[in-house]
Amino acid sequence: MIDYFALALGHGLLAIALLRLVLRDGLDSDPLIGQMKGEAADNRKATSIAGRNAARRGRESGDESDPALPEPSAQAAKR
């Protein structure tokens, strides 16, 4: 009887845990590392020649806002 109780409890918790793991987003790719890499890629893109050209074109066309050069993210500044 005790064995059955222990097996039922353990397997019940395992079943719930595995289901929750499968349903969550960050299982296969890590959100934190993904976010940092994404921000780094944005920065790289913005500092590339093409990015700078796009920014210049934006200014020449009279648009004061700079779509390719948003403020460096608060995350990056904090770190």
Binding site: A6, L18, M36, T47, R79
Partner: protein, 460 residues
């Protein structure tokens, strides 16, 4: 009936794995620890469930996983070297048949521990592995704890799900593993994301901690008591009010004493007086034999080399006749006694090269976990504040395992090798965060510089 339930659970996890193949890795962990094929007795015993799970885990990773951030590290290299060396000594073993039997499970445990960190590429995976490891052991511990409370304990009397003294179903091994996982259990109470902090989680953790502490009492495993002492000592480092903690532990211990059976006192008394106990006396004799053995054969004698030992020693034997207790010294001849220590197990079986590899593997783990703790202990952001406490829990688990390993031949214990895999996974994950952060900082500063230059040019 039980077989059908196990098979249904395995089928359920296999289906879940179709969406996320990493779950198959966890399925192998569960099967390797709990061994449902040995708990059941009809259908499941005939199916190679372990092989199916390993094939699914490895095949799923190879074919379907993104493998982003998977790295082969120094500690995996050490385990690979140990695996190859063990293979070589098995080929040259003193007892080839017995050595082959042990090799049969050791290579699987080592190979899985080498493979495991390659799959641990995200926080959720690290937590998932830790949780499945914990819950699989907890399933055994809950049953053991309940039986102890309800009076079914006793040395070599307590019945587990499997009663062949193999793997984790050996009383001292279970005691060591159960105590070693307590710090990780409490990490889940504070930092778990699968089961988030909740009074139910805390209640479960309290009950499970109690059950873990009951394992050495229920099985009357002396090593377990030493592991509890080691856990107490380690917790001092993380306790703010140390004197209060020591006093509390003392009071708790004193309160528990009246509830312990006499047989427990009798058995624990042999820790201080090993001369009167055959199991303890032979340990010292086997260890001396091992040192002599490797002096002749420094490369080791392969698995189960202890079978070649034979020694005689004098042991006091108590005889009680009415009110009179007489002690006579009797010569005992022993042969083929097991090593009863992982240090001597490695030394005798794999010689100095094997022992050095094993020691370096665990020493590196302790050092890496220490480094991670120091690096991340001040991190307060939610995505990273779990790292230092997990490193601390894994480090404590290793120390407790090493204390237990001093008195048991558990050098290749699969659960402990999985903990090594978890440590490697955590270390690699932290290195990846550091590297991504460095990249981000570089790109951010470059961007600011260019933005400054462009701003200057526009102003001019």
């Amino acid at each position: 009936m039980l077989d059908i339930v196990f098979l249904a659970f395995i089928g359920y996890v296999l289906v879940l794995g179709l969406r996320r193949p990493f779950v198959w890795v966890l399925l192998y962990v569960y099967i390797d620890i709990l061994a449902p094929q040995r708990i059941g007795y009809s259908l499941i015993a005939t199916l190679p469930v372990s092989l199916i799970a390993f094939a699914a885990a490895f095949g799923g990773w190879l074919a379907l996983d993104r493998k982003e951030g998977a790295r082969f590290t120094l500690r995996q290299g050490l385990m690979l070297a140990l695996l190859l060396y063990c293979g070589w000594t098995t080929g040259n073993a003193d007892f080839p048949v017995e050595a082959a039997t042990k090799w049969d499970w050791v290579w699987k445990a080592l190979l899985f521990a080498i493979f495991l960190p390659l799959t641990l590429t995200s926080r959720a995976r690290i937590e998932g592995l830790a949780l499945v490891l914990l819950l699989s052991v907890a399933t055994i511990v809950i049953g053991t704890g309940l039986k102890t409370v309800l009076g079914g304990g006793g040395y070599e009397n307590l019945k587990f799900f499997v009663n062949d003294n193999s793997g984790i179903y050996e009383s001292s091994t279970l005691a060591t593993v159960a105590i070693g996982l307590i710090p990780m259990l409490w990490w889940f109470v504070r930092h778990g994301t699968v089961f988030r902090p909740h009074w139910l989680v805390t209640g479960f953790a309290v009950a499970l901690t109690f059950a873990c502490l009951l394992v050495p009492i229920g099985t009357e495993a002396r090593t377990g008591l030493l592991c509890i002492a080691a856990l107490g000592g380690l917790m001092l480092r993380y306790t703010r009010h140390r004197f209060l903690f020591i006093a509390g532990a003392g009071v708790l211990g004193m309160t528990a004493l009246p509830f312990l059976p006499q047989s427990y006192y009798d058995r624990m008394a042999t820790i201080a007086a090993p001369g009167g106990d055959e199991s303890a006396s032979t340990r010292v004799a086997v260890w001396e034999w091992t040192i002599d053995y490797v002096a002749e054969k420094p490369q080791g004698g392969g698995f189960d080399a202890y079978r070649g030992n034979r020694f005689a020693y004098v042991m006091p034997v108590k005889e009680v006749d009415g009110n009179t207790t007489s002690v006579t010294y009797r010569q005992v001849v022993d042969e083929g006694r097991a090593f009863h220590s992982s240090i001597f197990e490695m030394l005798g079986e794999q010689g100095w090269p094997g022992l050095i590899l094993w020691l370096v593997l665990h020493a590196l783990g302790l050092w890496q976990m220490e480094r991670i703790q120091r690096r991340w202990r001040d991190a307060e952001d939610e995505p990273v504040r779990w790292i230092a406490p997990l490193a601390a829990a894994l480090q404590m688990g290793t120390v407790i395992y090493l204390v237990g390993a001093l008195f048991q031949g558990i050098a290749y214990q699969p659960v402990m090798l999985m903990l090594v895999g978890l440590q490697i996974g955590l270390n690699t994950y932290c290195a990846r965060i550091d590297s991504a952060q460095a990249l981000l900082e570089r790109s951010a500063s470059r961007r600011e510089t260019i933005a400054g230059k462009l701003g200057g040019a526009v102003a001019a």
